[in-house]
Amino acid sequence: MATSFKFKPLTISILLLFLYNAIASSASGSSSTTMHTNNWAILVCTSRFWFNYRHMANTLSLYRTVKRLGIPDERIILMLADDMACNARNKYPAQVFNNENHLLNLYGDNVEVDYRGYEVTVENFLRILTGRHERAVPRSKRLLSDEGSHILLYMTGHGGDEFLKFQDSEELQSHDLADAVKQMKEKRRFKELLIMVDTCQAATLFSQLQSPGVLAIGSSKKGENSYSHHLDSDVGVSVVDRFTFYTLAFFESLNMYDNASLSSLFTSYNPNTLMSTAYYRTDLYQRRLEEVPVTNFFGSVMETIHTDSPYRAFSNRYYRKSKTEMPSDQSGGGNRRALKDLDILEELADPKLNVRPLQSTYLLVHEG
């Protein structure tokens, strides 16, 4: 009886601790306080037909770039509306080039296309964004982002005033896009979102966006066309669009660890060479563009913090009192951190769990 009375305040305090924890985590749900922990990219080519070769080349070029800058394949959702590489008109079967010098085959060995051909529809696109898939859809085709994700959404095709044409049969309207992004925000599917669109009148596609944390850049303003960069007279088609070409040119000189900012990317577009005016919308975005490196979106550069303890735990199965050397200065909320540490300690204390969690040895943190 007496002992049970003694324990009561302790249970209350533990309950309170949980309650506080819950409140703290909900407060940190707003993107400003959550850490940026991972990067995703959705790359969409919406055009069919051989004469739209360049749209597939655009998308594949960007795919190659973000992969080079560190976003792994499982976090890239690649949608290609047609298969130019296998088109009978392609003089170079199974190859796609974005330059007439043919130095770089974009359709090499390691291209994972998630949605191909007639799978590229407005419906599937909106399902990817909002995460409302049918049960049978495999994980590799889903956007499994969370509130710490930075997402790059790149779209190219034929567009017009407040729409983007999909597959020559349907269109995505600016309202649809804005609605999907709003849902994503409410479902905490991203921290920051960069929408990059290379179509005619691309700027009009952003006009309905309202969600905070969204940054948008388009190849042309309302009433302007976007143009292709050059024609490959060997293949017989235009192979790349101007906006994408100069975007790629900007990234080609960068490596993973460069600190070029978004504003340097945005100012690199020259209306004369682009033959259209690149438009970017920043009013929904909180951070200053000068301070945001491009790799925040186009790459996935994470600092690795090495912790010894799991190795020790791994090497010695009966080591029961491991001490983690968690960097406690990384985040606020001391209580939470303490609880987390406690959890880990408890986990480690369990001998069965010691063998398994190899991935917990790495704590991924954004370099800032």
């Binding site: 037909f49 008109r89 079967p93 007279s233 017989g236 088609v237």
Partner: protein, 669 residues
């Protein structure tokens, strides 16, 4: 022959029924109005009514006269203005992308076989020309075909299968040559096609199969191509072995067959996918007087069908920008020297300048020389379409709804530059084929109804229809005015002389069908029985329909002689209007050219006053007819041989209207 006449006769009877029905409908409508009129008159018996009516009818006839004059003049003017209103051509289909590829055809291909060109020149090809030698590549299937036992010719067909294509579509190259007596120019066209063909058998970008048809033109280019197409689209085909059995041991055929078997090539009828487009390649015998190699485009197919404008556009674009050829379409040369056309051109140029000085945004008016050339080209375009006879073997393809044109190259004949010419021509054909190869669907983006005023300018259907519409607009108006005129005076007489209880149906019926009575009296003693048989039979058909309806009462006709010709004219004008409208749907150009003489003739037809000399006039006319119509009949016979709708037009619309007009002229007042 007899069958066709019978068929035309049948159509005539059907037409007669239609006329009868239409006029009957009109009569019924009028009848209802008359009834209402009569009741109205019963109600108000004002005296100034008849004066107002008279004034109204006079005003109406004056108005119809004014309108018909204005419309006719405006119609002719618009027709003359068409070259000014012509737009520049543009390539409408995105998928075509002409000249976005560098031609792969390099001189090597031709120089390699340059020796063969000279070989063709020296020896008559009928002996040594062996088409089979061209097709020894593994990807090529060969078909030998004969289409008639007694006078067979052999078309040679080569097919390149697209290596990664789905085999559902094909592009056809046609080179007509006379296998009995091949001329140098024919050998040259075969040379061009062979170069392109051998190149295409090696490229990797084909999405459509390529068929090369070396058509044996000893019985006409069109016939050879049409025979191949027929067999291509028919379910049963003329197999070589089967025909050989039928024809017995035809020595040449047997020789060919053994050589075919020796080479291990199939002799069954080989097909490729449905034809997306066809190019007929010819080389003109005579050289051009120009500095550059020339290219002449023939596009008109049967019944004024044209291939899609995009096909002409890409050929023109590639020839001018890619190969520097001088592109021309056919024109009527005699018009180029006509002073009145030139002065008209100068006038419109002047007007254009004045308009520009008034408002710099107004841009019309083209240089006078351009105008004259545009007119000559337009006239030729109109004429060829109106004739309804194809201008080349491409017409056979157009009958199967395949877009096709004939390209006639005219090289500068100096042997040193022969290779250069082959290079240009080959590159052009290759470029066109590659462009069509890029196509995803049938040609559909650009115009099908147009007239060319130069290789790079065209008049679309929306503009040229204005001229025609203006020209025929007064016809229904005049017909209505004439008919109401005649009926009004008649009904006025009714009010005076007849009781209101008199059944009103008989009068309009008689008036409406009196022209039949008059037309029946047309002298039928002309020796042109062939021609008049039809007219007579159609009239008999019409009479039969009338008799069947039992509404024709000839007894009253004599009383109404005075107004008869007005009604006759109304019917003539209506018939012309209906016929022209129907024809403009089938073949615009025929209707346009037909309307030019027919409309003023129908509108101006008035009985001749000196009926004393009517009999001698008749005799004279008959004599003239005998002379004129003989040639005319031969001409129409040739039209019928080509299945031209113009033939039907002339028989169904033009001739009856002439007959009726002549009847009006000879009408006794």
């Amino acid at each position: 022959m007899l069958k066709k006449v019978c068929a035309v006769e049948l159509i005539g009877i059907v037409c007669g029924w239609m006329w009868f029905w239409l006029i009957n409908r009109y009569r019924v409508a009028r009848l209802g109005k008359l009834d209402v009129d009569r009741r109205w008159r019963k109600l108000q018996l004002s005296s100034n009514r008849s004066r107002a009516q008279l004034f109204g009818s006079a005003f109406f006839s004056f108005l119809s006269l004014l309108v018909s004059i204005i419309c006719c003049v405006a119609g002719v003017l618009t027709l003359l203005l068409l070259p000014v209103l012509a737009k520049n051509t543009y390539i409408s289909e995105n998928a075509l992308m002409p000249s976005s590829e560098i031609p792969e055809m390099i001189g090597k291909h031709i120089i390699e076989s340059g020796g063969e060109v000279s070989y063709h020149q020296i020896q008559p090809i009928s002996d040594n020309f062996h088409p089979l030698q061209f097709f020894l590549g593994p990807a090529v299937g060969i078909v030998h075909e004969n289409y008639s036992c007694t006078s067979y010719g052999i078309n040679t067909v080569g097919i390149v299968r697209a290596p990664r294509g789905d085999g559902k579509e094909a592009i056809v190259i046609v080179t007509p040559y006379n296998s009995v007596k091949t001329t140098t120019s024919e050998a040259l066209s075969l040379r061009v096609a062979y170069s392109v063909f051998s190149l295409l058998s090696r490229v990797s970008w084909l999405a459509k199969d390529i068929i090369w048809l070396a058509a044996d033109s000893r019985h006409g280019e069109h016939a050879a191509v049409a025979a191949w197409l027929r067999d291509c689209y028919a379910l049963s085909r003329g197999d070589l072995e089967k025909n050989q059995d039928m024809c017995g041991a035809s020595s040449v055929l047997g020789h060919e067959l053994t050589s075919v078997k020796r080479n291990g090539v199939s002799n069954g009828f080989r097909r490729a996918g449905t034809t997306a487009a066809a190019l007929v390649i010819k080389v003109a015998d005579r050289s051009t007087g120009f500095e550059k190699d020339g290219l002449k485009i023939y596009a008109e197919a049967s019944n004024g069908q044209m291939p899609n404008l995009d096909l002409i556009n890409i050929v023109n674009y590639l020839a001018v920008h890619g190969q520097g050829l001088q592109v021309r379409v056919e024109k009527i040369w005699s018009l180029l020297d006509s002073w009145w056309l030139y002065s008209l051109g100068e006038l419109q140029e002047l007007l254009g300048k004045v308009a520009k000085s008034l408002n710099p945004d107004w841009k019309f008016g083209i240089p006078a020389s351009d105008y004259v050339e545009g007119c000559a080209t337009l006239a030729s375009s109109l004429y060829n379409q109106a004739l309804g006879v194809p201008t080349g073997p491409h017409g056979a393809f157009c009958d199967f709804q395949v877009d096709s044109i004939t390209l006639e190259f005219s090289p500068r004949f100096s042997s040193s530059q022969r290779v250069l010419f082959l290079l240009h021509a080959g590159r052009l054909v290759e470029g066109v084929i590659r462009s069509v190869n890029n196509l995803l669907e049938k040609f559909h983006q650009s115009f099908f109804l147009y007239l060319m005023t130069s290789p790079s300018r065209f008049v679309s259907v929306g503009i040229y229809m204005i001229a025609f519409a203006l020209l025929i607009a007064p016809l229904p108006l005049v017909a209505a005015a004439l008919f109401s005129d005649a009926s009004k005076s008649k009904s006025g007489k009714d009010d005076v002389s007849l009781e209101p209880s008199h059944p009103g149906e008989s009068i309009p019926t008689i008036t409406a069908w009196n022209w039949l009575h008059t037309a029946k009296t047309f002298p039928n003693s002309s020796p042109l029985t062939n021609l008049l048989m039809w007219i007579a039979s159609s009239l008999v058909g019409l009479l039969f329909t009338c008799a069947a309806s039992g509404s024709l009462s000839i007894s009253r006709a004599s009383q109404l002689q005075i107004r008869e010709w007005t009604l006759l004219k109304a019917v003539t004008v209506t018939a012309a209007f209906i016929g022209l409208c129907l024809m403009s749907v089938i073949n615009y150009a025929t209707a346009q050219i037909g309307a030019l003489p027919l409309v003023p003739m129908c509108l101006m037809a008035v009985p001749l006053r000196f009926h004393v000399s009517a009999k001698t006039m008749k005799a004279l006319l008959r004599g003239a007819c005998n002379i004129l119509l003989d040639d005319f009949w031969n001409w129409t016979e040739s039209l019928r041989a080509w299945n031209s709708a113009t033939y039907i037009y002339i028989c169904m619309v033009n001739l009856p209207c002439w007959v009726l007009c002549i009847r009006i002229l000879l009408h006794r007042r």
